[in-house]
């Protein structure tokens, strides 16, 4: 039996500010959260909680939106192993490289050059 230590699945509401997860397969493809772009495979970063703890501001698809904790509880995200461990140990976050956060990019230099289809 093989345990997969590299990924943990958690409700999005449990992420702390600064943590990022990827929406797990199985999230609804219709409804308001889906319309807002919360579809499987989307990276979501928790930015901050309101002073009294709720709502929560998150960033996804290069934009930000505030939702209540109760809404984010319904969304499962996978934390990438390296990130999750780094957070636990308190060491610097290891960039997973798959999709750089827009916030982490200091200028427009990091973007992928446009490709034209024939």
């Amino acid at each position: 039996m093989v345990f997969n230590f590299s990924e943990t699945v958690r409700p999005l509401s449990t992420l702390r500010p600064g943590e990022r997860g990827r929406i797990a397969p199985g999230a609804a493809l219709t409804g308001r959260l889906a319309d807002l772009g919360f579809v499987p495979g989307t990276d979501v970063t928790v930015l901050r909680r309101a002073p009294f703890g709720d709502p929560i501001e998150v960033e996804l698809r290069g934009y930000r939106i505030c939702l209540r904790e109760s809404q984010l509880r319904a969304l499962s995200v996978t934390l990438h192993g390296a990130m999750a461990l780094a957070t636990v140990r308190g060491v610097a976050r290891v960039a997973d490289g798959a999709e750089a956060s827009p916030r982490a990019t200091p200028s427009g230099e990091g973007h992928v050059p446009a490709k034209r289809r024939a």
């Binding site: 493809l29 219709t30 308001r32 889906a34 319309d35 807002l36 772009g37 579809v39 499987p40 989307t42 901050r48 309101a50 002073p51 009294f52 703890g53 709720d54 709502p55 501001e57 996804l60 698809r61 290069g62 934009y63 930000r64 939106i65 505030c66 939702l67 209540r68 809404q71 750089a100 827009p102 916030r103 990019t105 200091p106 200028s107 427009g108 990091g110 973007h111 992928v112 050059p113 446009a114 490709k115 034209r116 289809r117």
Partner: protein, 638 residues
Amino acid sequence: MSAVPAMPAVRVAEGPVRIALVGSPNSGKTTLFNALTGSSARVGNYAGVTVERREGVLTGSHGGVRILDLPGTYALDGETPDEHVVHEVLHGAVPGEPIPDALLVVADATTLRRSLALVHEALALGRPALVVLTMIDEVKARHGRLDPLALSRHLGVQVVGVVGHRGVGLDVLRGFLDDARNWRVARVPTGIADAGARFAWVDRVVHEIGADVLAADTRSDKIDRLLLHPVAGVVVFAAVMVLLFQSIFAWAVPAMDAIDTLFALAADGVRATLPESWLVGLLADGVIAGVGSVVIFLPQILILFTFLHLLQDVGYMARAAFVVDRVMGRVGLQGRSFVPLLSCFACAVPGIMATRTIASPRERLATILVAPFMTCSARLPVYTLLIAAFVPATSVGPVGLQGLVMLGLYVLGATVALTAAKILNSTLLRGRVSVFYMELPPYRWPTMRMLVRQVGQSARAFLRRAGTIILAASVVLWVLLHVPQAAPIAGATPAETARANLEASVAGRLGHAIEPVIAPLGFDWKVGVGLVASLAAREVIVSTLAQIYAVSEGESFRGVLEAIQADIDPRTGRPVFTLPVALALMVFFVFALQCTSTIAVMARETGGWRWPAFAFTSMLLLAWLGSFITYRLARFLA
């Protein structure tokens, strides 16, 4: 076959082009609409629903291009009334609302990876369309890259970039709008079944035009670190709200006094120039005084709306709602309910108008229904009079008792409002659609032009109401208070004649008629007349009592104060007004919905008379109950 009268296409081409604006909330759609239509916008409601309908004519098009600003929506199949209207209009399913000839699809250029989803949904309808990218200046400021031409090649329709509030790109857009009938129909994939597939398409398009990376808005981030800080954020929030509260009271007073004087002068002028008759009375005391009693709130409303629009334009309004949402959520409201309710301390009319910023239908209705409980400034004259007359000017520790009672009335009103919201949410409003989402827009400098226009619109809406409904109510009330007249008494002073006339009038008889109902509260027929009169507007009770006690004009406040203190019931030989009676009367005013303007604005904002009728009745019952308990309790304790 030649009997067919006209080809549909020919018939359509004769009228004005009708363009619908489609876009998500905060996409800059309304700013764009205002910039394109100038002052021609007409605001109304869709029949039978509370959704605002805004239509205007493209300035310079001489009526040739009509623009319909549809409510903001994240998708075209949503569940709220707003979203439902968008869907129905786009499918030509609203009676009397022709299907738009073309769609102007608005998308925020800084949130392309989300907003293109709605663009796709709109374009897939297969109608002639044009896409407007707003806030393109922010893309540049955040080191992003966006080529409208590249996007245009992907979508198959024209794409125009604008900065709505600065007017950048609007000339180009106007050129296209004149030619809307010749817009292309988009070439976008149809048959996309769900949001997953749609966002996959969006990601591909954004990636291919190279627009997918945008640096963070560092300026807004820095400000937010302070304004949304767990401690500093709350302090700033409290400070802004105190300032708002302070401004509508302290700063408005000189202007309100001036308006008061102006209307009194006008009434005197009418009395002095015209020969004495009932018409003069109607004009001076009915029409002029009635309208004046509403217009007096104009300074508060101007200051309030300037403040609210300023907070909105710089981007703080959403932050305030974000900070306070947890607290409001406890009673089933939303952060967006806070500022409208706070505005009700000035007047419930602008407060209820301000609930339009609440996107969720259930929370909006709850906020409207509890708004009249907040202590509005029309209650102040009543409280001031009764407190000055009956609450001893002693101190409880370092605090004056009179001030304490006043504070208690404010706290009581707010507590009742929040409790009522909680109860309504778990009973009557249970099961209504409730949505929650909130965006914190980037901080921006406000533009004076926009501010002036928005405040002007709000003030006009308020004055229009004063000019129609309030005017009608004032006239009706004046007639009730003056018809029929009593038989002339020989040797009576004018004040005594006025009193006799009042007692003989319909309102006077009503006061007597309701005496059995209000007797358990400690009120006699004179208070009854005051209550009947105050149904039009609360503060009217003061001037009505002045008439009942035959107080000569010009000294109504002090005169009434002394008269009610000295009034002895001939049957019992005891004072009519005592501290328990005064407290009961004040509690009555905390609960009762005695305000025709509030009822009228409620009807407008909830799309019918059902909810105002419910609010009026239930609040009247509560008022009776509250007064009864207060009266009995106070007598028991005294």
